[in-house]
Amino acid sequence: MFKRLSPPEATNEAVVTFHFDEQTVTARLGDTVAAALLTSGISICRSTPVSNAPRAPYCMMGVCFECLVEVDGNPNVQACQVEVRDGMHVHTQQGARRLTS
């Protein structure tokens, strides 16, 4: 679990609000989705398609693919490589992805 050295509200940095599963989450503009989740008390982002084990961001630099989430209906997105946007809908990636159109 991570916290901010100084909350974005305290400085005059721009803030965005997005949705994770049923929660509404506030983050700093420019944060990756992974950073936003980790600083909001969300510690698990997916379950594996092999054994359903829970996983969370591990490397934060795009190599481990542990941070997969569904972003705006798009499955298996690397949360550490995508910046949050206002109103974004992020969901836990449960096992194998579904078909989308």
């Binding site: 901010r4 420019g30 980790l38 934060m60 693919f65 298996n76």
Partner: protein, 462 residues
């Protein structure tokens, strides 16, 4: 397909230095990076970091400002947030930007894609809450985020200590540093001090970090010989043993950051099938490079940590060298001219990298930290254990490719990045053969996932 003179991949110190050097000789490069901002690993988020107290990240970090400024020259075609998913031996490059795929071509290419952290496959390393030290640092630099509860750092290497001091300066509580450097390593490394002294400033910085941690009273547990992460569903505690003591000791913590050095990220050089060799000193694969840092594929060079770990300063020097190499290849400089200009760079490079043997020996992770035990996952994606890999060796698998096809190890979303080196080393050990003989995964495009729709379009327009 548009053909450019020079395409540089990566905007860490190596890529940025290569770009500005090339520009000096009249080459206007295309510079690509998947990150939204320049800086690479060391200078990540330099322009946007919320960590404004310069003391926290330290002067080495802020020294990247001038390189980043150089990259902003309007003549440089800098393309951030652009991923490379394909590179062919004919120097065709597949790009992905804003969900759109495109192919471009280059007369000369400099790959400056840097390093990744060496996997540290301890029991429980897949539990949420266990991350790498690098990821802790990325969170700090880019989001100003730090562990909430007292954090445990475990492993070895300069980056681990650097993060510890950065945390310290930021007021983060460190529960313990579990240092896995074997005790006899210090003596072995001493042999290399004369070389290290040629780069005294780096050596002193390291000593300074240790002193800073000691003064602050950070619990630094040395000679850690076994380590385990435990918890149900997520990390709850870390257990360890110390050399000479058979008892497990425990700390409750929700965050464990692992690190045991960095290794070249060879995903792209492997996929174009450059010749690679096993570097026994650095315990990692690296592409074979000539004096201009060119690979065995005409027109493809590698600068920075992607060609063997040299550190940020030397990476920038290699970037300059590769930039000169590009000028030579593109007939902007004669051989005599470029050789002459390379001379001082080579000298500085030799001085800077003279410390490497010392660091490589001191922080060489012992075998038990590189080879997971039978019940521990080697491949995180497909959930293949060390034991399963050893069983494949028994069945006659001599290398990672047959092993991959029998176990799916390396077939998951990370495309073998996280398990590649572990599997090569495990098989070499089990088959009693060298890592070089054992080999590595044969990698194929795409290096980064691309949708079928994007791929179909890429060719239409190409």
């Amino acid at each position: 397909m548009i053909t450019h003179d020079l395409v540089i991949l990566g905007t860490g110190p190596a890529g940025m230095a290569a770009a500005t050097t090339a520009l000096e000789y009249g080459i206007t490069p295309v510079v690509i990076d998947e990150q939204p901002a320049a800086g690479g690993q060391i200078y990540r988020a330099l322009e946007s970091t919320p960590v404004r107290d310069r003391r926290i990240l330290g002067e080495d970090y802020w020294s990247g400002e001038s390189l980043i400024k150089g990259l902003k020259d309007p003549q440089i075609d800098y393309r951030p947030a652009t991923t490379v998913w394909q590179l062919t031996r004919q120097r065709e490059i597949g790009l992905l930007h804003d969900d759109k795929a495109e192919m471009i071509c280059a007369r000369h290419i400099i790959l400056a894609t840097g390093a990744m952290e060496r996997p540290m496959p301890i029991p429980g390393w897949t539990l949420p809450g266990v991350m790498t030290a690098g990821s802790g640092q990325i969170l700090l630099k880019s989001a100003g985020a730090v562990p909430q509860a007292p954090v445990v750092l475990a492993g070895c290497g300069p980056l681990l200590l650097l993060l510890a001091t950065q945390y310290l300066r930021a007021g983060v509580e460190i529960a313990a540093i579990l240092d896995t450097t074997p005790r006899n390593r210090y003596r072995a490394a001493l042999k290399h001090t004369p070389g290290a002294l040629r780069n005294a400033s780096t050596l002193l910085k390291g000593v300074g970090l240790l002193r800073e941690l000691r003064r602050a009273g950070v619990r630094h547990i040395k000679g850690v010989s076994a380590l385990r992460a435990e918890g149900s569903g997520q990390l709850e505690r870390v257990l360890w043993k110390q050399q000479g003591d058979d008892n497990w000791q425990t700390l409750e913590t929700p965050t464990l950051l692992l690190h045991q050095g960095v290794i070249p990220n060879t995903q792209i050089t492997r996929a174009v099938d450059c010749h690679h060799e096993w570097d026994e000193q650095q315990l990692s694969w690296r592409p074979r490079l000539d004096e201009w840092l060119s690979t065995d594929i005409p027109g493809i060079a590698v600068a920075g940590d992607g060609g063997g770990i040299v550190g940020a300063k030397a990476a920038a020097m290699q970037g300059q060298l590769a930039g000169l190499g590009a000028a030579l290849a593109l007939d902007k400089l004669t051989l005599a001219n470029s050789t002459e200009r390379a001379q001082p760079i080579r000298k500085a490079l030799a001085r800077d990298t003279a410390i490497r043997p010392f660091l490589d020996v001191l922080y060489r992770p012992a075998k038990q930290w590189r080879l997971p035990d039978d019940d521990t996952l080697a491949c995180r994606c497909e959930e293949v254990t060390g034991g399963e890999i050893r069983r494949m060796a028994e069945m006659g698998c001599r290398g990672p490719n047959q092993t991959k096809s029998f176990t799916r190890c390396g077939m998951g979303p990370c495309q073998g990045r996280m398990c590649g080196i572990t599997v090569s080393e495990l098989l070499a050990d089990a088959n009693q053969q060298s890592v070089e003989e054992t080999g590595y995964y044969r990698l194929r495009p795409p290096f980064k996932p691309i949708t079928l729709g994007q791929l179909a379009k890429a060719a239409e327009e190409g």
